[in-house]
Amino acid sequence: MPEPISSQPSSSFAIAGLNFQDLCARLQAYWAAQGCIVQLPYDLEVGAGTMAPETFLRVLGPEPYRVAYLQPSRRPADGRYGENPNRLYKHIQLQVVLKPPPADIQALYLQSLEAIGIDLKAHDIKFEEDNWESPTLGAWGLGWQVLLDGLEITQFTYFQQCGGQDLEPVAVEITYGMERIAAFLQNADSIYDIRWNDRWTYRDVRLDDEVQMSVYNFESADVEKLWQHFNLCESEARTLLAAEYPGARAPLLGAYELCLKCSHLFNLLDARGAISVTERVAVIQRVRRLAVACAAQWIQLKKPN
């Protein structure tokens, strides 16, 4: 059994042992205490936590919502066969969404860093402008990247629009890069050296995944079949979105999952170098059209009759 970790560390060094899974647990517990639902990661491939319905759809409409969830995020083109100590095909985000944002949200965020043992008085924290825009999701927001001693650990964004819809009220999205924070806390120079728990490392848990998926993403994925998958998913999503269903029975989430698949297939095709610069814009447009239609239908379904 590992030593229990004190919740009030006496200095930054005392908690240098916070391992990856404890870090995840601490942050989730912190946001649970702020009234967030702690959700499970979405069980489909996504490029970012933003794409999970818990963010993409829940930020729409007037109902207040608070949610936190870990989300493995896949970016096929970022894979490095496990050879680069700082880059991953799949990294883990902690996604926190608060709608509407409380007025002290920045202070709440900084306290979450204290909760994982970072002594704010001993470090250099900067909020540096970083505006976010996703052409695939028809979404944008203004915010910052949060730098901890020069390391980008969080994206902090006030969503203004999502799925082409103006948000009323707006929502704040806080996305923690978990590997980076863990490497910082553990003073590790390579992500693979992060201790996942007190017995196994990140390498033990995830290296095979990075190597094999890099081979698949860059070399083996069958481009022609990927296009077929893409076209199938797209056409099915369109059919679902166009059909008439009574009341709240419309299979909107089904359509949205197909849209997410298209997005991931697009990323795979991109990693395979199968999309030329001119095609790119057109394919992004196709995914965006689905996302925007899903957002519109979600608002329609949620409208009180």
Partner: protein, 716 residues
Amino acid sequence: MTQPFLIEVGCEEIPARFLAGLSGQLLASLGEELQTSGLRIADADLHAAYTPRRLAAWTDKILDRQSDREEETVGPPVKAAYDAQGSPTPAAVNFAKKFGAAAGDLYKVATAKGEYIALRRKIAGQAAAKLLPGIILRAWSRLELPRSMKWDESGFKFIRPVRWLVVLLGDEVIPMQLGDVASGRQTRGHRTLGSQAIELKRADGNEYLRLLERNFVLALPEARRERIRSGLREQTPENGLRAVDDAELLEILVNLTEYPTVIRGEFDRQFLKLPREVLVTVMRSHQRYFALEEAREGSQLAPGFLAVANQDQDRDGLIRQGHERVLRARFNDALFFWRHDRKRSLESRLEDMKHITFHAKLGSYYDKAQRMLRAELINYLAFCLGIEQQKDEIRQAIQLSKCDLGTELVKEFTELQGQIGGRIAQAENVPEEVWQALYDHYLPAATLDRIPRNLTGAAAALADKFDTLAGMFAMGEIPSGSRDPYALRRAGNGIVRILVEKHKSLPLKRALEIALQPFQNPEHALGQLRLFFKERQEFFFQEMFSYKQNSPIQKEEVMAVLNPLGEDDPFGPANDPFDASLRLRALNEVRRDKPQTFARAAEVFKRMRNIVQKEGELKDWLDIKFDRASFNDLERDLWKELIPLDLPEKSQSPDYYREYLSIAADMAPLVEKYFNEVRVNDPDPELRKNRLAFLAWATVKLGRVADLSLLSPLQK
């Protein structure tokens, strides 16, 4: 009575690049609104301070009340105001009553519409306390914001959320709201070092600055700048070591911190193997660190950096450690890419360029390189630049110029394209002339950027830019208004600058004809490019040239030089930018030596040209041969004086043009005498024709270097 006034708008971090501008705007609009409201006191300065989390302004005194004033209000017409007996009607009585006056206070005024009754009213000035919310809201609404946002249900918009508001007049809070945020007297200190509830007793700017400083906020940007500057010095105590000078980075850091502290970090010497450009880009653009270098000519980078933390100190050395770790990771990535990219020769990547699109309609970068490599283009550029013995070097430089586009390093640091290729070529022992040429071939990348250091680089840069312009214009991608997505104007300016600063005559028309050969419909594009290059030169000579030459060039002088008389070639005088620059310098100098002579010449030559042009086009008259046999004495004198005035094939020196212009201007009295004594429009049609033809010839002769008639008298 006066009162001090202070406002502070507390925000979540305002982006560094907008901060100073916003503060300046707020100061200006607040000053104007106070002025308009009659509260501003002329000799009381308005001060400003700002940090990422606040915009503040204050003044020692404003009037605490507007002064009273009188206003005239016009009522009904006199006819309706008094009855036949001259007594006030109910209309008049009611009008007076409405303003709390009696009928006896009314008087008559004459207006354009007839006589009316009027009333003089005293209007009491309002208290500043009552006016300030309106003043502040008006000033705030006048701010020109970049993309802004909402953050709460009030729907109020700003660049980042507003979280607190201090508005003090004397020792009173002025109650008001910005969105959902209500005013008070509490400000906040540094996020992690200061108190988040600091009471301000009164509107005292100095007290405000003192209290904030005690809470680790240097609210004045100059205080933060000074703290960074002295930190940079203190952290490099070694002899012969200094921070790479970087004013732009300094300003970013001033606007990114509330309490900046300079921290020195080190990195492993092995990373110095990386090209300097990569090291500096990572430190400067990605991490916002100052690089360290040896303080002497040709200085090498040192394995260290200076970071600016938003903290008072680095008690446990943790901040240094953290920044060092981040930099190490970034450098490791770069080193990985560098080693990876070095596994193949640069030349072997030429084939890869077939897969990188330059422009959908213009093909790949491979296609572009092939167009640039055409013998005709290289021969012409080498000839004009006087480096015909270096054609092989030019060819090699162009061949390699686009090869770095497929490297991992350029994918990671796109801003270093060209430079990376140059460094790889250097490491592959490519001759210096060649690697420097491809390193420089994107230059100049901005108006004041440097130009290629050697002539092979100039040739590669010209080939690249001529090809881009020819291709884009042939495809109809012509810049218009603010639309110039391919930065074609920059390419055009670059060509002009390289030729002028390298002192090389290169007729643009021929170069463009060659560059247009691979494309369809070259005639149309050539016509557009002619206008384009004339505009580019107008721009360059007025803005850039006067900046570099450090003497004011007037627009008139540029126009005179770019529109001399008697040019048949449609590209005309804008065909050779270097030659135009020589004529311009000569004109600028000689005109300042003899302002009166030139003022008189302008007047006389204008008259001369008008006489000819009244009778037809100047160039038509030039086609008519005049007969010297029918000259009178005056005509013969003038002709004799003008004959030696001739242009050499290629001047290459402003001295010749200076002399030409000086002689031409000196001719004005003689020409004037001619007008006064010779009747051009002689009744004899043959004589008249002869005189006009002669005059046309003389006009052109005098205006060949510059059309002097376009110049107005020089103001002392």
